[in-house]
Structure formats: structure tokens, C-alpha cells
Amino acid sequence: MSEFLQHLVNMLVLGGTYALLGIGLTLIFGIMNVVNFTHGVLYTFGAYIMFIVVQQLGLNFFVALPVAVLAGWLLGAAIELTLLRPLRGSDIDTTMLVMIGAWIAMQSGALWIWGGVAKSVATPFPEAPLVLGPVSVSWLRLFVLAAAAMLILVTYLLINKTSLGRAMRATFQDHDTASLMGVNVDMIYTSTFAIGSSLAAAAGALLGPVYVIFPQMGDLAAVKAFAIVILGGLGNITGAVIGGFILALAEELGAGYVSSGYRDAMGFVIIIAVLIFRPTGLFARAERVG
């Protein structure tokens, strides 16, 4: 029983960051119809910004977090303006190839700048964990969970309660009509990509100090983000949040009770199962086809 409780606590902490990774990707896919292969690199980028600000500039950990989010926002806006805007209207394959190119170029750039040896970031949290009966969790991970929950809430409010969010949702439903109603669709696309990117960078900034930071760290994160998006349904934010927790639960219980060798395979097992039984995602509303 105590082992099961510990797995549940691990799942909550892991699920929060998975959700953060998933909503950034699903937002971009849903609104822009772009498969963002740079998502993992943006995650890596956020982690390296933490490394620069905390380890190299010697600034406070809590100052570094918003810096990383802002840097992710700027890099996302730059990618949208230089790569995606000129390609507007081209087919999804062309955009996908360009994004794969950007992914490889940026990952190699990180390797060139920082080298392949992993870096770690010091945190202000105590080493001794918080112990509650049979379960125990580190303060850093609790903070990461709280920060992730806050970012998810902010994103939710942004999309559902602000005029920018309303314009984004309108563009998601029908960008021609939205454009006729006076929505600046170009601006919406740039904002969406920048917000999605900043969420990926935030996830990297939060998880980088928990783990270690290296140029390929985003690859596995991106695969998991794709699994979460497929699980929750393309463009579905609530679905991505729940999907993040489901993936974390599957990994924890899979490693705990099935076999630890297949831990990272659990995500793919879920993708396959969802694609067979509910191809529109677990949380898609019933839709009339044809």
C-alpha cells in the first residue's frame, strides 16, 4: 500500500509537467494546424536559460524562471515570424519538413554552444525531502508541481476569459470568418506559437534543475508531449492536462508493477490503444462525420 501511495505522489508531480508540455503543443496544433517539431528543442532551450541565468550569471533561481519563460516566448515568436509566416497556406507536409529542419538545426546549435556533457542547476530548496507517513517527496518537485499548476491555470484563463483568448478560439473554429470579423489572424498565429513555445520553455526550466540538462533532453520530452496530445485529442487543452496525468500514471504503475524496462514504452502503448479505439482522442466530443 505504501508503495502504491508513493507511486501516486510521483504520478502527480510528473503529471503536472507532462500536462504543461502537452498544452503548449496541443494549442499550436489546434489553432495553427502546425505539427511543432521544435517543441522539444524549446523545452531544452528553457532548461539552458536556467543554466545560464543561475549558474553562469549567478542570479536567483526564482528570477531565472520568468526569464526562461520570456526567452521561450521570444524564440517562439521569432520562429513563427521567420519560418511559419512565409509558409502560410502551404501544405502540412512542407511545414512539417521545415519544422524538422529547425529542430535539427537548433539541437546542433545547442550542442555547438554548450557541448554534449550534461549540466546541472543548483536550487534553493533543501535536500531533505518532505515526509508524510509512508510517502516522501522533494521540496523542489513540490514547487515544480505548484508552478506547473499555476501556469496551466493562467493558460486556461488566458484562453477562456480574455479577448485574445476569444480571438484565438474564433480562429481555431474558422479562421476565414474570424478574419472577416476583424480578428488579426497573423497576430493570433504569432501569439499562439509564442505562448505554446513559452510553455515548453517553462516545462524545461522547471524540469532541468530536477534532472540534468543536455542538448538531446528534449527528444524524449517531445515524444511524450505528442503522446499526450494524441491522448487528449488535438487542440483540446483540458484533454492535454488529463492526458498528462494519465501518461504519468501509466508510466509509474507500468514501471512499478509490470516491468521497469518498458517504462518509456508505456506512452507508445497508449498512443496505439487510443488510435485503435478512439482515434479522435479520449476527450473529443461526439462529432457527425460526413
Binding site: H7, N10, E127
Partner: protein, 384 residues
């Protein structure tokens, strides 16, 4: 203007293509190591150690009147890449001997290429038993196979009063081979084997495996992986309140890095290692050890890397000694000469003995294995 640029380009190309003859003044040694990916830290240390050996040999005039040139390639911690890199080094760079490829799975992937091109390789780190037992006569290993580690550990098992042991190992030839060899030895000693948990080489979160181990009724965990994953395990074990005795194997732990990154969580942990940079006087070759450590520090590298980098140093000295003995830089002659060398390595004499099926034996040297314990943030030696 365009034509001028074109001319510059042509000259640059010609220099690149015909710059070859200048290279003939050197003797090349191919180095196939993971410089990116999961084992980047360890591979980089080995390469830095290799460079110290090459510079030392060249400062003394080189071998056969020529300087040594290391041709270093990154195998990206990926077996497919390791095989491709070996092929490139042999066919394109024309190296007569290789050193590599750090991980057991990486080395095993390279081995068919060695047979195909009949080129010998000094294996500096890999510990899977399979490497020297499958009948590859181009393999000359200076690191201990995991069965040798297990045998060395046998002596202390009673003193530690081990009763039930869990394993947490990297999910590749190295980790699984270690779990197998140590389980066999421990079962003979009457110790119960509990869980055998694995982790992917790129995995960063081992909380699930550690939670499972925390709930088991064993008192000791044997952990096998490289330094980056090890520090994560120590941090995550501490966060989960895992109180069991942790013993690591494989010699790629960099204990000082564990002390620096895991803090108090490192106290009481034990590590099977193959080099003692903390106690140069207790090493088989104190003079060389002191030279190596001084040079390592002079170059501004972290002391923690010594336990890994000495292998690159010994590996290159082994290859160089064989080239010298062969009298020419040709693969067949070097292979034959490797059987006859006897050099003082930082971890014992490097002399190859036959291992594997008759007629196509691999070479295996017999390095020392030590057990160290971390106490109050300091490394102490335990007698095996």
C-alpha cells in the same frame, strides 16, 4: 569577384584533399567514444585522458620517429553510430588501430567491423563478458569484465553481511551482464536476489523503480550505470527516503561528482572502482599515477573525472606500445604485437591473456578492482 572566390574555394578544396601526405608523417590512432548522448560526460573524460597520453608520447619524440595523431570521432552513445564511426576511421582515415567504444553495447556493435577490416581495437571501458568470449581475435581489453568485478567483490560479501540484494541496472549489455554475473556469485554465497529493475540509458526519472525498491525487504541495492544517471539516482533515492545500502559497480561513477551533487545522500555508499586517484601511493604505479593526476589538474579538468579518464590514458599507451613493438603502423603487425606488450598501466600491468574460443581468442588484461566507501563526504578505501 566571383571568380576570385571560386579560386579561393578550389585552393581550399585542394589543400583539404591533398593535405594527406603531410598526415603520413604521423601515426594515426582512431578513438571511438561517446561525446554526446547519455554517456557524453564519461566519453569526454576518456578522450581527455587519451590526449594526455598522446601529448606525453609526442613530447618524448613520438614512436618510430613519428608523432601520434588521435583521430577522435563521436559515436553519440548509439551502437549504430559506433559501428559507422569505426568503419569511417578504418576506411577513410586509414587508422591501423582503434581505441573504444566506452559502452558494452557500443563495443559489441563495432566488433563485426573489426573482423571485416581486420583491424585491432583496444577496449578501454566496456565490461560485458560477451566482448571477450564470443571469439573476436581483434579485441584487446584493458578494463575488467563484470565477472572479474563480481569475483573481486566476493571476498567482502561476508564482511558486509549481505542477506538480500536488489539490482537497479542500465538496460543494455553492460547493466544486464553485471546483474547476471553478480547474481550468480551472490547465489553461490547464499545471498537472496530480490528485484532486478532496469532503466533506459537516457532515462532521467527513476522514481518509479526506486519506489518499488524502497518497498522491498532487501537491505542492499546494487546499482550499475554511468555518472550522470548515478547522480540522478542518488538525488531521487534521497528524495524518496530510501535508506538501503547502495553499492555501485562498473567503474564509471566518478565518486567525487557523486559527493558534490548528492551531498549527504552519498554517505555510506560503496563503489567498485578500477583506479585510486585519491591514494596514488596505493596504486600499482605511483609515479605514473602522480604524473597523470598532475597533468590532469594542470589542464583544468575536474578531479572527479580521473577515475574515468585514466582508461583513455592507458588505452592510448597500450596502442602506442604495440605500434612500437610492431615496428610499423600496420593492423596485422599491431595485432600480433599486442600479445607481446607488457606495460605499467595506472591500474596494474597491461599484459594480454587469451580469452574465448580456441583459435580466435580475444586479449584480456587483468586490472585491479577496488572497493571504496564514501564517509563524511570523503573517499575511504575498503580492503577486499
Amino acid at each position: 569577384m566571383t571568380r576570385a572566390l571560386g579560386l579561393v574555394g578550389t585552393i581550399a578544396l585542394a589543400t583539404a584533399l591533398f593535405g594527406g601526405p603531410a598526415g603520413a608523417q604521423t601515426i594515426k590512432i582512431g578513438v571511438n567514444e561517446p561525446l554526446t548522448g547519455a554517456f557524453a560526460a564519461s566519453g569526454t573524460y576518456v578522450v581527455n585522458g587519451a590526449k594526455i597520453a598522446a601529448d606525453e608520447i609526442n613530447a618524448k619524440g613520438g614512436i618510430l620517429g613519428k608523432k601520434i595523431e588521435l583521430v577522435i570521432e563521436d559515436n553519440k552513445s548509439n551502437p549504430t553510430e559506433a559501428a559507422a564511426v569505426a568503419e569511417k576511421l578504418i576506411t577513410s582515415d586509414k587508422v591501423p588501430v582503434l581505441m573504444g567504444a566506452w559502452g558494452s553495447s557500443l563495443t559489441l556493435a563495432v566488433m563485426p567491423k573489426l573482423i571485416e577490416y581486420e583491424t585491432p581495437m583496444v577496449v578501454e571501458t566496456s565490461s560485458s563478458g560477451k566482448i571477450t568470449t564470443t571469439g573476436n581475435p581483434f579485441i584487446f581489453r584493458i578494463s575488467p569484465p563484470s565477472a572479474v568485478e563480481a569475483a573481486a567483490f566476493k571476498g567482502i560479501v561476508d564482511k558486509l553481511a549481505l542477506k538480500k540484494v536488489d539490482f537497479l541496472v542500465i538496460n543494455n549489455d553492460w547493466g544486464r551482464g553485471t546483474a547476471e554475473d553478480f547474481s550468480k556469485m551472490m547465489k553461490d554465497k547464499g545471498i537472496t536476489i530480490g528485484l532486478v529493475e532496469t532503466m533506459d540509458q537516457g532515462a532521467q526519472d527513476m522514481s518509479a523503480q526506486l519506489s518499488k525498491i524502497k518497498s522491498s525487504d532487501s537491505e542492499t541495492v546494487i546499482v550499475t550505470t554511468a555518472v550522470d544517471q548515478l547522480t540522478l539516482i542518488f538525488k531521487q533515492a534521497a528524495a524518496l527516503g530510501l535508506k538501503k545500502r547502495i553499492i555501485t559497480t562498473g567503474g564509471s561513477q566518478n565518486p567525487d561528482q557523486i559527493i558534490a551533487q548528492a551531498g549527504a545522500a552519498a554517505n555510506g555508499t560503496m563503489h567498485l572502482t578500477t583506479f585510486l586517484p585519491w591514494f596514488p601511493d596505493k596504486t600499482p604505479n605511483p609515479e605514473a599515477t602522480n604524473y597523470f593526476i598532475t597533468e590532469w589538474k594542470k589542464r583544468g579538468f575536474e578531479f572527479a573525472g580521473c577515475t574515468e579518464s585514466f582508461r583513455g590514458y592507458d588505452g592510448i599507451r597500450t596502442a602506442a606500445a604495440a605500434i612500437e613493438k610492431a615496428g610499423k603502423a600496420e593492423p596485422a603487425a599491431i595485432k600480433a604485437a599486442l600479445w607481446n606488450i607488457n606495460i605499467k598501466g595506472l591500474n596494474g600491468d597491461i599484459v594480454f591473456r587469451k580469452s574465448g574460443p580456441e583459435g580466435k581468442e580475444s586479449g584480456q588484461s587483468q586490472p585491479n578492482v577496488y572497493l571504496i566507501e564514501i564517509n563524511d563526504g570523503k573517499v575511504e578505501m575498503k580492503t577486499l
